[in-house]
């Protein structure tokens, strides 16, 4: 009986396994394979093996390290801001008020839009001459003349982080709200009756109990931020000041047609993201074991 059920299960899983092998495992394997060759995109069948040369080329390239640095700053700052803002909004929307369902639906708007569209809308609002933001800042007296938010090399990464926070905070809010809803109301009632002040209820009841949900949300968002491509690509084009690891790897592969070096860069990205994933998961595990 058990064997029969296992066999049936494999039949049901077969299409998924075949499809994932075709779109994930095989291309990943080929990518790693090409990393060790000097293949070019225009003629990918004609190549020879060059050992670790491509990996060395990538890590000797200062542009690559610039991209790694940008990606790390982007990930660290944007995920931190999103988590804090997401937590604040989730705590607010967790309270009972008229029209709560509608508000929860409305905050999905930034999340459901294509990233390219969000990027274009914000690019328009951040426009140095005609943008609403400069206009408002000048009107309020904070600025004398408009700032080139998306062109100034020292501002561009900050602008991109700002837009990303707007786009992805809804996702954070949803995941944290779902975590908050799992906390039984009785705990709060008991704490309130015995005179625990509000800030302490937040600090020693809400946060520890919502921590697993927050942890999962942070993990997902971090891995997503590390692979960011479209926002930077649309806002900053090829500016090295906002180039991410994904943009660097694609540039080598498609822009320079260098299949070997491009694949090696992708493989580095894979290793870096994998390392970060392992780090976060082990931190989360540690947390779970101690509490």
């Amino acid at each position: 009986m058990q064997n029969r059920e296992t066999r049936i299960a494999w039949y049901f899983l077969l299409p998924l396994l075949v499809a994932l092998a075709a779109v994930a495992l095989w291309p990943l394997g080929r990518n790693i394979y090409f990393s060790f060759t000097n293949a070019f995109l225009d003629n990918p069948t004609d190549y020879s093996f060059v050992g670790l040369e491509n990996f060395a080329t990538v890590i000797e390239d200062p542009v690559f390290w610039g991209a790694v640095k940008n990606t790390m700053i982007f990930t660290l700052v944007s995920v931190t801001l999103e988590t804090l803002l997401g937590l604040a909004v989730a705590l607010l929307l967790h309270r009972a008020f008229a029209g709560r369902g509608l508000v929860r639906a409305a905050i999905l708007v930034p999340w459901a839009m294509p990233m390219v569209v969000s990027a274009k809308i914000w690019e328009w609002m951040f426009n140095d001459q005609f943008g609403l933001i400069n206009k408002a800042l000048i009107w309020l007296g904070f600025l004398d003349k408009g700032i080139a938010w998306t062109a100034d090399p020292s501002l561009i990464l900050g602008t991109i982080i700002f837009i990303d926070v707007w786009v992805t905070t809804p996702f954070m809010v949803l995941l944290i709200l779902a975590g908050l809803q799992l906390i039984p109301e009785e705990i709060y009632e008991a704490a309130e009756v015995s005179g625990v002040p509000a800030w302490k209820r937040l600090w020693s009841i809400t946060l520890p109990l919502a921590a697993p949900a927050i942890g999962v949300a942070v993990l997902f968002r971090t891995l997503d931020a590390l692979r960011m491509f479209d926002l930077s690509y649309v806002i900053a084009a090829n500016s090295e000041n906002a180039m991410t690891m994904s943009i660097y790897a694609r540039d080598q592969l498609i822009g320079f047609q260098d299949l070997g070096v491009g694949s090696a860069a992708s493989t580095w990205v894979f290793l870096i993201v994998g390392l970060v994933a392992i780090l976060i998961v082990s931190v989360l595990r540690l947390d779970r074991n101690t509490t």
């Binding site: 059920e5 296992t6 049936i8 299960a9 494999w10 049901f12 899983l13 299409p15 998924l16 499809a19 994932l20 779109v23 291309p27 990943l28 080929r30 990518n31 090409f34 990918p44 607010l92 929307l93 369902g101 508000v103 639906a105 409305a106 905050i107 999905l108 708007v109 930034p110 839009m113 294509p114 390219v116 809308i121 328009w124 005609f130 609403l132 707007w166 905070t169 809804p170 949803l174 995941l175 779902a178 975590g179 799992l182 309130e192 015995s194 005179g195 949900a213 999962v216 997902f220 692979r227 479209d230 690509y233 690891m245 994904s246 790897a249 694609r250 592969l253 491009g262 992708s266 990205v269």
Partner: protein
């Protein structure tokens, strides 16, 4: 509200009113932050070129941007391409992952947990990591610069997600009906199509909508595997939309395009809101 400190009745009421006001003010700020940019895009899209640079917060009901957009064959073609690609890849993903979700959610077999974890790991893959391998596979299949290239490669984005969500939906369904059907000698596939599927209408609709959004919004593969304008999808078409001269950046038209490609999705998301939230948070909370 039985606070430990004793307030006079009046002071207590005043405190409550202040708290209430603070709550609604906070909600208003959140809504303004989340919605204003889209509102501004709508406003800007209805302004003629001259009034685009005025800062009136009200629409000026000039639809010339929309008219020139709808007369732009590349943009209209991109909408058709996007619809074909997003619909096909979502449908294929739903079928494959529904079968898998039944096995993962209902049948008892040793490696189901490992498979679920692998699926989850694939969903956090950076896309560039498969780019060169995918390029080669698409070349072999002769899909390059065709919508089929995107339908195929989007399975990577959609399948892990739909499998995960449908598995958790199936686990939440009651088992009594199935057990009865099983005792009656019903085959597994018949149970899936005749017993579970009718119960899963809303779940499948919302999962399908999320899958559709994933495909509709994708940028990196669409930029890489499509070469010519007439085969582009919407995000890339908008990303590459430029004016007739390089000094004339068509913000009004870009805003009109942004509103056009987002509005249908937003309406659907608002309609399916409850189920979508359930789908997005499924697994993340329970897993």
């Amino acid at each position: 509200m039985t606070g430990p400190k004793r307030y006079s009745n009046q002071a207590y009421r005043r405190l409550r009113a202040v708290k209430r006001f603070g709550l609604y003010a906070g909600v208003a700020i959140v809504l303004a932050y989340m919605l204003f940019p889209y509102y501004w895009a709508i406003i800007s899209s209805t302004k003629s070129r001259a009034s685009l640079y005025s800062f009136s917060l009200l629409p000026s009901l000039d639809f010339s941007n929309y008219i020139s957009l709808f007369n732009n064959p590349i943009f209209m073609g991109a909408i058709v391409n996007s619809a074909i690609v997003a619909f096909s890849s979502s449908l294929i993903s739903l079928i494959i992952s529904l079968l898998a979700a039944y096995a993962l959610g209902r049948l008892h077999f040793p490696v189901s947990r490992i498979i679920l974890i692998c699926v989850l790991m694939i969903s956090v893959f950076p896309q560039v990591v498969v780019l060169s391998g995918m390029f080669e596979v698409i070349g072999w299949l002769d899909f390059y610069n065709r919508p089929a290239a995107l339908i195929f490669s989007y399975l990577l984005l959609i399948l892990p997600f739909t499998t995960w969500v449908l598995t958790s939906f199936i686990r939440d369904l009651p088992t009594e009906l199935e057990e009865a059907a099983l005792i009656d000698g019903c085959s597994r596939i018949r149970i899936l199509t005749h017993v579970l599927l009718p119960l899963m209408g809303p779940a499948i609709a919302s999962t399908g909508l999320l899958a559709f959004i994933l495909a509709w919004n994708e940028f990196l593969f669409a930029l890489t595997f499509i070469l010519t304008d007439e085969n582009r999808t919407v995000p890339v078409a908008i990303g590459l939309l430029t004016g007739s001269s390089r000094y004339e950046y068509p913000f009004g038209q870009i805003m009109a395009a942004s509103v056009t490609v987002t509005l249908p999705l937003l309406i659907l998301v608002l309609i399916f809101q409850r189920k979508i939230v359930a789908g997005l948070t499924a697994g993340a909370v329970k897993g």
